[in-house]
Structure formats: C-alpha cells, structure tokens
C-alpha cells in the first residue's frame, strides 16, 4: 500500500513531469489542458495522502534518497500539520490551473511555455516543502524551486518594467528569508548524525535531530535558541508578509503576477510562512519548555506583531485604487490574524490556569481554520479579479462598476467571498474569526492584555468590511464606467466562459458549506492533528479545544461561548421570507428609471465617486501609516472622447443657466 509520503512524492514528481510536458505544445489551451490533467492527478494523490493521515494517523517518516557523507537525505513525513496545508494546496491549485486554461487567452504576446511549466513546478515545490523534514539541503532546494518558479511567474508580463521590478524585489526578500531560516537551523543543528527515538540514525540537519538537540541547548546555550527562534520568526515572517517585511514585496508582487498565480501566492504560498512558524515553535521546543524558557514572551511578541500587521495591512488596503493591489494589502492584514492567533496560543500554552490548554488549542485550531478559509476566499477574490480583467481590460477601481448585471455568476461568487472575508455570519470567515476572538477574549483569564488585543482585531474587522465594500461596490455595483464594455447597452453579457466560472463557483460553495458547518472543518483540523502532537504542542493534544453545539455549530469547551449557524439560518430564513412577503404585500409595480441628480444634469462619468473619495476622513487621520497607492496609468485622460463601441454618449455639459 502506498504510504502518504510516497503519494506526496509522486504528486510532486507528477507536477515536475507536467512541467516538462507543458513545454511541448504551442497552443495555450492544449498546454492548459495538459497542465490540468497532471495537476488533477497530483491533487487527487495529495488528497489521498491527507485522507490516509486522517483515518490512520500519521505514519513514520520515510527516507527516499540519502548521502550520509554529506549529511544529506530526502526524508518526507506527512503528519497532521502537513496534512492541513496539503489539503489547502490540493484544493486551491487545481482550481487555479483550471481557471488558467481560458484566462491565459487575454495575455496576448506571452506564450504558455513561460507559464504552465513554472506554475506546475511552483505547486510541486509547495507540496514538497510542507512535507520535508530536512531543514537545510532539501528545505533549500524546495524553497528555491518555489521561489524561482514564482519569480518567473511574477515577471510573466516582463515587458512592463514595474512587473520586473516587483519580481526582483520579491526574489530578494525570499532569498533573505531563505538565508535567515537556514541560518537558524544551522545554529540548532548537532555536529553529526544522531540516533532518533526509533533507533534509526538521522542526518544532522533533520528536523528530528534538531528536536533531539533542543533540550541540551535549552539547558546550556539558551542564547543560541533565542537567536535561532528570532531568525525563524523573521524568516518565515517575511514569507507570511508580516509588518514591516511584507510591505517590501507583497503589495507589488501579488498584483504583478497573472491572477491564477496571485491566487496561489496569496491563498497558498504565504501560508508556508505560518506553517514554518507553527512547526518550529510548537513542534521543535520540547514539552514543558514554558516552565523555564519564556515561551509566553514569544507569544506576546507575536500577538503584538500580528496586531500591528492586521491593523496596518488592512488600513493600507483601504487606500488602494487597484483591485488586485487592494487584495494584496488585505492578504497582509489576514496574515496578521494568523500570526495573532499563533501568538495567543503560545501565550496561553505555559499558563497554569485549568482552561488554558483548551483555549490555546482553540486558538491554534482557529489559525489553521482561518488558513484554510483565507485560502478559499482570497483565491476566489483574485480569480474574480482575473475574470474582471479579462472581460474589461482594466483593474483600476475607478474605471469599472456595474459588472454584476453583466457578469452575474462571477459577481455572485465574488460577493460570497467579499462577505466571507468581512466576517458576515453564516460564511466561513466568521467561524474562523470567532475561534480566534473567543480564544483571545477568554484568554484574559490567563494573560490580562489579550482581550484588549482581541478588541483591536475586532475593530480591524470593520475596516476589512470597509475595504471589501469599496472593492465589491466599485467593481460589481455602483454604475458602470463609460469604458466598461457594454456600458449603456442593456444587459450586454461579458460573462467569462464556464471553465473560468466553475472554479469560482466551487470555491464559493466551499465558503458557504464551511460557513454553515464550521464543525466539519474543525473536526478535520483536530482529527488530522490528533496523533501528530509532539514537543511543546503535546499539551494541546490532550486538551478539548471545542465542543459540538447544535448539529453543525461550535462551542467553547466550558460552554461560555457558542455559535450555532444552523439555528441562526433557521431564524433568518423565515425572517427573509417574511420580508419578501411584506414587500410584495401591496402588489406595487416595478419600473426601471435612471438616477435622479436633482433634475439639473444627466448622469456622467465626471460625477462618479472616485476610489480615493471613499472614507476620506479616515485616510486623513491615518495617512502616517503609509501605503499610498501608486499613480494609475490614465490612457484616456488626454482623449476623453475616445469611447468604446456601445458606451454612453459623452456627458451633456451641465446647464448652468437655470437656478
């Protein structure tokens, strides 16, 4: 029987084979089809590995290639934590590849050979990096594979100088992150191979060797441990996009890449940062480290850094005027929630309070749940932005609008994602934020400052809502800009082909399903982690993080907080039906009219509310946070009359003679 490790290795190799196979055809669609074929099989293999871990618990690590003389071994281990991240990769990647098949059409002048091989290599490297136990050589190899392929994808449209600049920045930051984390591993590694718990010799840079070395280091060279943990925090923090490192690369790199790649960068790749942090902080430090080493101090640092990241990232997103740039800043904000949650977990872990282990476990489970959720809705938002770009040729929020009537399916899917990320109840974003908030607020029993930090996170949630009201409203609602194809003409559809709609709709369905049934995702996360707990996290394994409430709902273990989505849905459904009946009661006739502008002028592009006009007062007070949007190219600034076929007539000059 194939072990999960073998399945994952096969999946990564299949991605590699697909990368080579897609080098051959010239046709974009054929190339895309082949890529999806390979990706689909690889995705199934990865899901199979995840299912095995879920049912049988994690197996033993497996060594595939070894050169003991160089301390070099390809040793893979799929445990519960890896399984959660593998599930994310195997869900989002096939959707993104399937979306690419038709999406790539509009990048005229850029061939598929510069796209699919890198895309598949990128996905294969992500699968491998969350499964390897080598912290040095293979970590370096997979990290470089992931970085170089995504570098090539970010500079896919290489004729635009800003994309090349963004890609170079990205490459530089990723290399810095790679060097820092490897330096950290070097500090902690023993001098030579050691015998593992099972008696099998492991190489000096293997994760297990590092863990075995740890108790000795904690006794004798505490400074080295602290330095290494700091290196890990910064290194993986760069990847995760935390403040202030994320600001150097993330907002430029994510919008520069083609949309399916942005979806993978934001939805999956930056999550390898939180994977690394969880792995190194919870799986590496031995159990009871908290008794004499300030683990809670590291947690507090993460709470503070996470709090700053989520506030600053989201506030900067609020200012953006380009659809994908706004999403990129918001990804930093959401990464802040992940770091915040991990911080809460580390703060609570060493506490002696009886409720602490259960709350710490809830925080970590919340982080993993939010990781999955963010992967779902953020990739959906990026893919939606890609559909919009393909249909209208622009991502400038000032030059879109009214697309819901023209792209109803894309618009509906994007609405689900925008509401989910804003934390509207009954969607998945609310459920995972609920876990994070509850653990922070109830954590006040053990660390009094946590509820305060939780309040900042709740406050930022309103800012997230504001971001996505602006994003969704300016693209899909409001009134269409004169240059939107089909503006003026009645309901001219510019909807994407079904191959681009299907992945969006499936992701949206996943958001709704996990929102109505959060217990399902929590069960998945807990079940995968159940037998993977070791080291510092062992305490979490014994805790009961949550209890089932209602049929699909979640409740804090001691019952002092609960969320029952089915009960809420059961209340909302009759209320909505009642509201519909009320509005139909008078049998009033509907009539379509144009908006009323006080009767003096007709509607024109010149009166449109521009992106920078939203939330002016807030920007004025938070200008010092930075993140000003770069100037947008204005192709029609000089030639205002250059209109697309079927667009509105030029606006009538305002009639000033009347009072």
């Amino acid at each position: 029987m194939t072990t999960p490790e073998q399945a994952v290795l096969w999946a990564a190799l299949l991605c590699g084979a697909g990368a080579i196979a897609t080098l051959i055809p010239r046709s974009k669609r054929l190339s895309g089809g082949i890529a999806f074929l390979f990706m689909g099989v690889a995705g199934l293999l990865v899901w199979w590995a995840v299912a095995r871990v879920l049912m049988n618990g994690p197996g033993e690590p497996e060594t595939f290639v070894a050169y003991p003389a160089w301390g070099f071994a390809l040793r893979l281990h799929v445990d519960g934590l890896s399984a959660v991240f593998l599930a994310l990769v195997a869900t989002v990647s096939p959707a993104a590849v399937f979306f690419s098949i038709r999406y790539l059409d509009h990048h005229s002048g850029y061939g598929p050979r510069r796209f699919y091989p890198y895309l598949l290599g990128f996905i294969g490297a992500m699968v491998a990096i969350v499964s390897t136990t080598d912290t040095m050589y293979f970590f370096f190899i997979f990290w470089q594979m992931m970085t170089l392929t995504s570098y090539a994808l970010v500079r896919f449209e290489h004729r635009r100088p800003e994309n090349v600049r963004a890609a170079n920045q990205y490459l530089l930051m990723m290399q810095a992150a790679c060097a820092l984390t490897m330096l950290g591993a070097l500090l902690l590694a023993p001098a030579g191979p050691v015998a593992s718990a099972g008696g099998e010799p492991v190489m000096r840079f293997d994760f297990e060797a590092l863990a075995l070395q740890m108790p000795m280091l904690l006794r004798e060279q505490r400074g080295v441990v602290t330095a290494a943990l700091l290196l890990f925090l910064v290194g993986f923090g760069i990847k995760l996009g935390i403040w202030p490192f994320g600001q150097f690369w993330l907002p430029d790199a994510h919008p520069a890449a083609p949309s399916p790649v942005s979806a993978l960068l934001s939805g999956v790749m930056i999550k390898t940062g939180i994977y690394g942090l969880i792995r190194y902080f919870l799986w590496l430090l031995p159990e009871h480290t908290g008794d004499d080493y300030p683990v809670a101090g590291w947690g507090a640092a993460m709470v503070v850094l996470g709090g700053i990241t989520l506030f600053v990232g989201t506030m900067q997103a609020l200012r953006q005027e380009q659809a994908k740039r706004l999403l990129a800043y918001s990804s930093m904000g959401q990464a802040g929630y992940l770091l915040f949650g991990l911080g809460v977990c580390l703060v609570l872990l060493p506490s002696a309070h009886p409720a602490a282990p259960s709350l710490a476990a809830l925080a970590l489970v919340g982080v993993l749940f939010h990781t999955l959720n963010h992967g779902l809705f953020k990739s959906l938002l990026f893919l939606g932005a890609g559909s919009v770009q393909r249909a209208t040729g622009t991502l400038d929020l000032n030059r879109l609008g009214g697309l819901l009537a023209r792209m109803p399916w894309t618009g509906a899917a994007a609405l689900v994602a925008a509401l989910a990320i804003s934390g509207v109840p009954l969607l998945n974003g609310f459920a995972s934020k609920w876990c994070l908030f509850v653990s922070a607020i109830a954590g006040g029993r053990c660390a009094p400052y946590l509820p305060w930090a939780g309040a900042v996170a709740i406050l930022t949630s309103a800012v997230t809502l504001a971001c996505f009201v602006k994003w969704y409203g300016m693209i899909f609602l409001a009134r269409s800009h004169r240059r939107v194809p089909g503006a003026g003409a009645d309901r001219l559809s510019i909807e994407s082909p079904w191959t681009m709609r299907l992945p969006l709709l499936l992701l949206a369905a996943a958001c709704v399903a996990l929102g109505l049934w959060p217990a399902l995702a929590l069960d998945f996360v807990c079940q995968s982690l159940q037998e993977s707990w070791q080291a510092l996290g062992s305490g979490l394994g014994r805790a009961q993080p949550w209890a089932a409430a209602g049929i699909t709902g979640i409740m804090m273990a001691d019952g002092s907080a609960a969320y029952l989505p089915l009960a809420l849905a059961a209340i909302l459904a009759p209320l909505v039906i009642g509201a519909i009946l009320l509005s139909r009661m008078g049998a009033s006739a509907r009539r379509a009219v144009s908006p009323w502008l006080c009767g003096y002028v007709r509607e024109a592009n010149e009166h449109r509310l521009q992106a920078r006009h939203y939330y002016g007062e807030i920007h004025r007070h938070f200008r010092w946070l930075g993140g000003a949007p770069p100037p947008q190219p204005q192709p029609d600034a000089a030639s205002g009359s250059e209109a697309l076929p079927g667009s509105n007539p030029p606006p009538a000059p305002p009639d000033c003679s009347r009072p």
Binding site: L477, A561, Y563, L564, I571, L575, L609, G616
Partner: protein, 307 residues
C-alpha cells in the same frame, strides 16, 4: 444543545415579531414628542404604520444596474435588526441562543452592510457619498458596542449574552470603573449609533438628500425605513440590557413591561436630544467618535486588569 433548537427558533421569532410590530410605534412617539418640543401639533402616534402601509402599495422605482441587489439589500436591511432581537436570551432569562456576543456584534454590523449594499446598488453619486459616510461611522462606532460587550465579558468571564446582560458590565463590585467609563462613552455615542441628529450624516436630508435611501421608493423604502425604526428599538434595548439592570426578578409579565418601559425611556432621551441639536459635519463627528473609541479602549484596558 440540539434539543433546544425549536426553543431557540420559537423564542427568536416571537421576539423578532414583537420588535417588528413595536418599532413604528416608537417612531410615532418620537415624531409626536419632536413636534411638541418644536411647538407643533404633530401627526397621530400611529402615523408611521399608515406611512409604511401606503409605501407598500406605491410604485417601486429601480434605478440601479443590478435591481436584484437592490431587492436583496431591502430584505436584508429589515432582517438584520430582527435577527439581533431573535438572538436575545429572553428578558432576564437564561434561555439558549443561536450565538454569543461576537455573533451579536456581527449581526448588528449586518444591518449596516445592507444599507451599504442598498446605496451601492442604487449607484447614484449621492448614494455613494452616503454609504462612504455610513461606512466611516460604522468603522468607529460598531467597535464601541463590541468593546462594551467585551468589558462585560471580562467581568463575567463568559461571552454568552445571558451572562453579559443585567449589569455584568459593572463587575462583581457593582460599580467597576471600566463599566462606568463605558456607560459614559456609550451615552455620548448612542445618538450616532442609531444615526439620529446630531449624528445623522448618512442620511443628512438637507445635505445629501437621504444618502443611500435617496433612490428608493415604494416597498423597498418601506423596508429600509422599517429597518431604521427597528434598529432604534433594538439598540435602545441593548443599552438597557447592558447598562440598566433591575426588574428581571419580577416574573414573566412585569419583567418584560419594566424592560419595555426602560427601553422607551432611552428612546425618549434620543428624541429629545435629536430635536434640540443641529447636525455635526462629518469630519467633526469622526473626530468626536475617535475620542470615544480611545476612551472605550481605555475602559477595556481597565476591565482586562479587573477594574
């Protein structure tokens, strides 16, 4: 807890229905008092019922490019405050509910989201100006209520609404500093929370002509106005539940009556202030709310450390 599902549903719908029916009456009383304060006779107290009934039959003009979104926004607007009412743990009761304080905060926000969607779907410049203001107000005000609930949660060591209501915010001593500070903050911010003068920047009849509601007529306008009335009742009831304990031990009919009377008193105070003050400009208001927010965070800081 699954056995309680029907209980949650039945009590929730009952409470939602009560708010739905009572909200226009509250509005009618407000109008009457405002008229008296301004030396006018004013309409009869049940006039809002007639108004809503009349609007239900009027022609429904849809100016948006996506009329479906306009309809959805209207329904959602009315449902949001009613769902908050449905979440209530009962007057002084310990009944099960569909969620806790965090859900309550997000459901309160949902009403704002519906207004925003309504304004965006209509899409005229005035509507968009209105929703930009509404969102700014929400960004500073919604957290205040969340912070008040968190202060109570810190004292009660629970997030279940049944534990938070009835004076938990004043702590075990009954007069905690954080609770009193929060009371002060919310008294000064409450007018804005129910978007009445002097903080009705979102609608601002004389300035941007009802903002997000400008393009609405007929049944949709009826739903949006009804929602506004319901929001006033629900928010006032929330103030009472959090900050004005007492009377819950009186037993079934009396406890509810006392609660209703206290809620009416809050609405009365809102009316008097609204009738005697002029509107702030949006920049003045945001600065004012910012101060409130900082005071609220300070109160939460106090509560975290047990004061």
């Amino acid at each position: 807890m699954s056995g309680h599902l029907h209980e949650i549903l039945a009590r929730g719908l009952l409470q939602a229905g009560a708010v739905l029916l009572a909200a226009p009456l509250a509005e009618g009383v407000m109008r009457k008092i405002t008229a008296v304060l301004q030396s006018r006779q004013g309409p009869p107290v049940i006039q809002p019922y007639y108004d809503l009934l009349k609007l239900m039959g009027k022609e429904d003009l849809e100016c948006g490019e996506s009329p479906w979104m306009q309809r959805l926004a209207g329904w959602l607007a009315l449902v949001a405050p009613l769902s908050v009412a449905a979440l209530w743990p009962g007057i002084g009761g310990q009944g099960p509910a569909a969620g806790d304080a965090i859900l309550l905060v997000y459901l309160l926000t949902l009403g704002g989201v519906a207004t925003l969607l309504a304004g965006l779907a209509a899409g005229s410049t005035y509507s968009l100006l209105g929703i930009s203001r509404e969102m700014m107000t929400m960004m500073v005000l919604e957290p205040l209520l969340a912070i008040a609930l968190l202060v109570a949660a810190c004292h009660a060591d629970s997030l279940q609404l049944a534990d938070l209501f009835g004076g938990a915010i004043y702590g075990r001593s009954g007069h905690s500093g954080s609770g009193l500070l929060m009371l002060g903050v919310l008294v000064f911010a409450f007018q804005a929370m129910v978007s009445r003068r002097p903080f009705d920047m979102t609608e601002a009849e004389s300035e941007i002509m009802e903002g997000p509601l400008m393009e609405y007529s007929g049944p949709k306008l009826a739903l949006l106005q009804w929602a506004r009335m319901a929001r006033l009742v629900v928010s006032s009831a929330l103030m009472v539940a959090l900050f004005w304990p007492g009377g819950a031990q009186l037993g079934f009919p009396w406890a509810a009556l006392v609660f209703a009377a206290k809620t009416a008193a809050v609405i009365l105070a809102v009316t008097v202030i609204a009738a005697t003050h002029v509107r702030y400009r949006v920049d003045q208001a945001i600065r004012y709310f910012g101060g409130m927010l900082l005071a609220g965070l300070a109160a939460l800081g106090l509560a975290c450390f047990g004061f």
